[in-house]
């Protein structure tokens, strides 16, 4: 095991080519132990490819991809909880049989895997369906089973590729509870998602991938600062003067949004407006939301769902 201050996931100069197409190029980032890390990007930006390469499903063209100081192998699967983007279960077997099988593959004894599965199914309200065939369950019920399989054996690293994709609101809530629970238990979470509000609520740090390259990387605050940082919303009467300290990004009849172009104090902006004869009715400052940054980076043409 790598020293505890080392990142749990370390990716350096990763490159992935499929034939003559380069999908990911010179990508480097770390995921620290115990943090929740958001892996963001538009469809086709290389997120799933990176995760598959990290987990040894794809062989990378170049670069270092380490989990706990070494390349990931299935032998370390007992410490991993992976919910892939393309996910499913054996359909013709019973729920308990499938869960027990995956538990055994993760290193649990058959008895322990069966007991864990039974407890989990009771917890998520599927206790009566333990012996039902998987394909007899509803889509939402199957999602609960998939979540159970993912978190079996209390994984040290939880990798969730678009975890809420296709989830109904109830299961989305369950998933969020589970992520927070795992986080409290000390798990490191690496998640791919397009739900920016979830990222802002859950993630400590993020990386934005664009066309296979890192576009932004850091804490949410750092990324917000990188993309204009602070926005001022003003309700007013009069004429807002031009200033080297801001750009007027939105202007309606009595409302404007000013994006700061430097680190000037917001109070100074307010003073300049008043001195210029603007009657200011309200003046609020806020950071750019990740959603706004996402649209800025990837353009409005990108869909907000799908991979």
């Amino acid at each position: 095991m790598a020293p505890h201050n080392e990142p749990l996931v370390h990716i350096q100069n990763f490159r992935m080519d499929f034939g003559s197409t380069t999908v990911v190029e010179d990508l480097s980032f770390d995921v620290r132990r115990g943090e929740t890390f958001g892996f963001l990007g538009s469809n086709g930006s290389g997120k799933t490819t990176t995760l598959r390469a990290l987990l040894g499903i794809y062989a990378p063209t170049a670069g270092i991809l380490h989990v706990d100081g070494r390349p990931f192998t299935p032998e370390a699967g007992s410490r991993l909880g992976y919910l892939p983007e393309e996910r499913g279960l054996y359909k013709k077997e019973s729920v308990l049989t499938v869960m027990t099988y995956f538990g055994q593959l993760k290193g649990l004894s058959k008895k322990a895997a069966s007991a864990w599965s039974s407890n989990y199914l009771e917890r998520v309200g599927l206790g009566d369906h333990a012996k039902s065939r998987v394909d007899k369950l509803s889509g939402g019920q199957q999602q609960k089973v998939q979540l159970g399989v993912t978190i079996m054996n209390d994984p040290e690293l939880l990798i969730l590729d678009e975890p809420t994709k296709g989830f109904d609101p109830v299961n989305r809530r369950l998933l969020m509870d589970i992520i927070e629970e795992q986080k409290r238990a000390g798990a490191t979470v690496l998640m791919v998602t397009h739900q920016m509000e979830e990222v802002e609520r859950l993630c400590d740090r993020v990386i934005l991938l664009k066309d296979g390259r890192a576009e932004a990387y850091g804490t949410i605050s750092e990324v917000q600062n990188q993309y204009g940082g602070t926005m001022i919303r003003v309700s007013y009467s009069g004429e807002i003067p031009a200033s080297p300290h801001y750009e007027i990004s939105t202007r309606d009849r009595n409302y404007a949004e000013l994006t700061l172009t430097d680190t000037v104090d917001e109070a100074l902006i307010l003073r300049d407006l008043v001195q210029a004869g603007v009657l200011v009715r309200s003046f609020t400052t806020s950071k750019l939301s990740l959603e706004e940054i996402f649209v800025t980076v990837y353009g409005a043409q990108n869909e907000m769902v799908g991979a």
Binding site: F18, L55, A59, T61, P71, T73, E86, T97, Y101, Q104
Partner: protein
């Protein structure tokens, strides 16, 4: 962990297969069909015996004319016959139903057909006329010869026991071919019944989108090995199920079914032939299983895999179409090609092994070839599964898979 996972996969695959009603339905269909056929045969034999007994009791009245002079009137009378001279009137009597049958024996019955006229009693009932007409002649001839043994010899009823030698050792003959031929039957039956399962065993992971979760907990080679071994186990269970009704029929219904008593001691079991047969069957099974698993890993659906599957079946059974050549001229170019081409080799080599025309060195080459190729194909299957099974909706080309750098070379 690898051993643990292999056992886990093996137990999961075997249990889920043996736990399926569909598996038992298909598996039991064969012995049930055999059982039904055997029951019909037993019933038929009993009915035939009853009919024969009834026919023996019921004497058939007939008229006859004899131009040959071979018919002994006393014999004919004893069998229910009455001599007449007017064939036209006798035939008219049969037509009107006042007489049951009339036989016309020509001058030379050995060269010219005996004409039999009778009231129609159906296909099998009418056979009684022919039998009776012949019986009259045979019994008359036997009486004239006066020696039953001489009569039997004249009929060619001569039992012969042959003893032949190979390299100074008594050859086993036909009885020596039976035991090694069993491997051909087992191979063919098990492959036919399990081939679809072989093909779909990895398709299932793909179609159900389970692959990625599997690949992060399990080495693909372990998964493929577990699946192949489980197919061996399932195949063994099927063979036992197939053999059960045969055993029951032999032990309990041997006389009813007219099954000749099998003197096991008369079967010559040649250890070398049996070992070669077993190795050829196992090697062939492994090769075909690995190949079907590989095809399943590449193709997006079972339907897409179907055409490849058909081609493989044709390759496997094509030696059976050249069976006479395999028997009569095992060293002909065609048979040699079938013997060494991997996908026609198992059946060809097993047949030649049973017929005694597969030399030791030839057997060694084919066995090594089958096992080496099976191992190679399993490796390829594992690699195809790794890369092919996450191409959920498209077929993966070999070029794409084998152009990839290996993980160990670049994942540092």
């Amino acid at each position: 962990m690898g051993q643990h996972n292999l056992r886990t996969v093996l137990a999961f695959e075997v249990t889920r297969t043996l736990g399926k009603k569909r598996f038992w339905f298909i598996t039991l269909l064969v012995p049930i069909a055999i059982g039904i056929v055997l029951a019909l045969v037993v019933l038929g034999n009993m009915t035939a015996a009853d009919t024969a007994a009834r026919q023996a009791d019921a004497k058939l009245a007939f008229t006859y004319s004899d131009a040959s002079g071979y018919v002994d009137p006393a014999v004919a009378t004893e069998l229910g016959g009455t001599a007449v001279t007017d064939d036209t009137a006798a035939i008219a009597a049969v037509k009107s139903g006042t007489e049951e049958a009339h036989f016309v024996y020509p001058v030379d019955p050995a060269e010219t057909p005996v004409h039999v006229y009778g009231v129609d009693k159906g296909l099998f009932g009418n056979e009684a006329y022919n039998g009776l007409a012949t019986q009259v002649l045979i019994t008359s001839a036997q009486d004239r010869i006066g020696d039953p043994a001489l009569t039997a010899l004249a009929q060619g009823n001569v039992p012969i026991t042959a003893t032949t030698y190979t390299d100074g050792v008594e050859a086993a003959g036909f009885l020596g071919m039976i035991p090694p031929l069993i491997f051909v039957v087992i191979f063919f039956l098990v492959f036919t019944l399990l081939s679809n399962q072989m093909l779909t065993s990895t398709l299932e992971e793909k179609e159900n989108r389970v692959t990625e979760m599997i690949l992060t907990t399990l080495n693909p080679t372990v998964l493929i090995s577990g699946k192949v071994i489980s197919l061996f186990v399932v195949g063994f269970v099927q063979v036992l199920v197939f053999l059960l009704p045969v055993l029951v029929a032999y032990v309990f219904f041997r006389s009813s079914l007219n099954i000749p008593e099998l003197d096991v001691s008369s079967l010559t079991i040649e250890p070398r032939q049996m070992i070669v047969g077993a190795l050829l069957a196992i090697g062939g099974f492994a090769l075909f299983t690995g190949t079907l698993v590989a095809i399943g890993a590449v193709m997006p659906t079972a339907k897409d895999a179907g055409s490849w599957f058909s081609g493989l079946i044709v390759l496997m059974i094509v030696p059976l179409y050249a069976l006479s050549l395999v028997l009569s001229d095992p060293h002909s170019p065609v048979v040699q090609i079938f013997t060494y081409f991997p996908y026609s080799a198992p059946i060809t080599a097993m047949l030649r092994n049973a017929f005694g025309s597969l030399a030791g060195w030839e057997a060694a080459i084919v066995i090594i070839e089958l096992f080496l190729l099976a191992a190679l194909v399993l490796q390829v299957a594992a690699r195809l599964f790794r890369y092919g099974s996450i191409s959920y909706t498209s077929k993966v080309s070999f070029k794409t898979v084998f152009a990839r750098p290996t993980g160990s070379a670049t994942r540092k």
